[in-house]
Symmetry: C2
Subunit: 144 residues, 2 copies
């Protein structure tokens, strides 16, 4: 469904967002251990996320990665996915065909449309929505 990078990215963002309460910053080490991912690779993931300004960062002591509280509402999961996997989720064809032509659709057309619509709905969740759906600070699921 999503690339591994994308999954780490989603988990990273959710983890960092979980700390956004007091504008707290988290270090690379904290993120990697918080989502149980390889640290060096996670560094690259976080770089991409900061370059696309989904997360912010400051260098030096007491620095780290963070997301501002007021941004939780506006950042959508789809924003994160598009950084890593582009729009393949929406345009990708179930049979690997290059064109999806609604006029002469393949036999799976309708079913694929449904699936894509579901995915779209899911990715339209804001970070705030994700966090609210869980009991306070219970982000343990990220480390499974």
């Amino acid at each position: 469904m999503f690339s591994k990078s994308c999954k780490y990215g989603l988990r990273s963002v959710i983890f960092i967002a979980g700390q956004a309460g007091e504008n707290k910053k988290v270090s690379l080490t904290a993120v990697a251990s918080g989502i149980d991912s390889p640290q060096a690779f996670t560094a690259k993931i976080l770089q991409q996320l900061t370059k696309s300004s989904i997360v912010n960062s400051t260098k030096g002591p007491y620095g780290g990665f963070f997301i501002r509280k007021e941004d939780l509402e506006t950042i959508l999961l789809s924003d994160v996915v598009s950084v890593f996997d582009g729009d393949s989720v929406y345009t990708g064809c179930g049979l690997g065909l290059s064109k999806c032509d609604a006029k002469s659709p393949c036999p799976l057309h309708d079913k694929f449309i449904t699936i894509r619509a579901n995915i779209k709905v899911m990715l339209n969740s804001s970070l705030a929505a994700i966090l609210n759906s869980e009991a306070e600070e219970n982000l343990m699921f990220l480390k499974r």
Copy 2:
């Protein structure tokens, strides 16, 4: 969604099934050009499909790949997918987590369940169903 191998596999099977009317056999060349895929790689794909006895084959002159008419009803798209991508479609986790625990689900749990259910429905289509849904021999969509 599916690996490239899997997509070639699906298209190959649908193409071969389309010829199953008269128990006709099709050569590798015919398949590759019929679904517009790299020939040498398609050979590998077809090997895997015969090894898992989804398609049959005979060597030598007048040989080729074929699917028996009576098997069109029983072969499901899910059979093909599982050859190439295993059960990752069903078990794979949207966040790349190793366990999906329904007791302490992640925030995306419900939405993912829905998506997976849709995929399951789609893959439950038999080859016969796929072929019937199209006007006779109009399998041009395979070459897009």
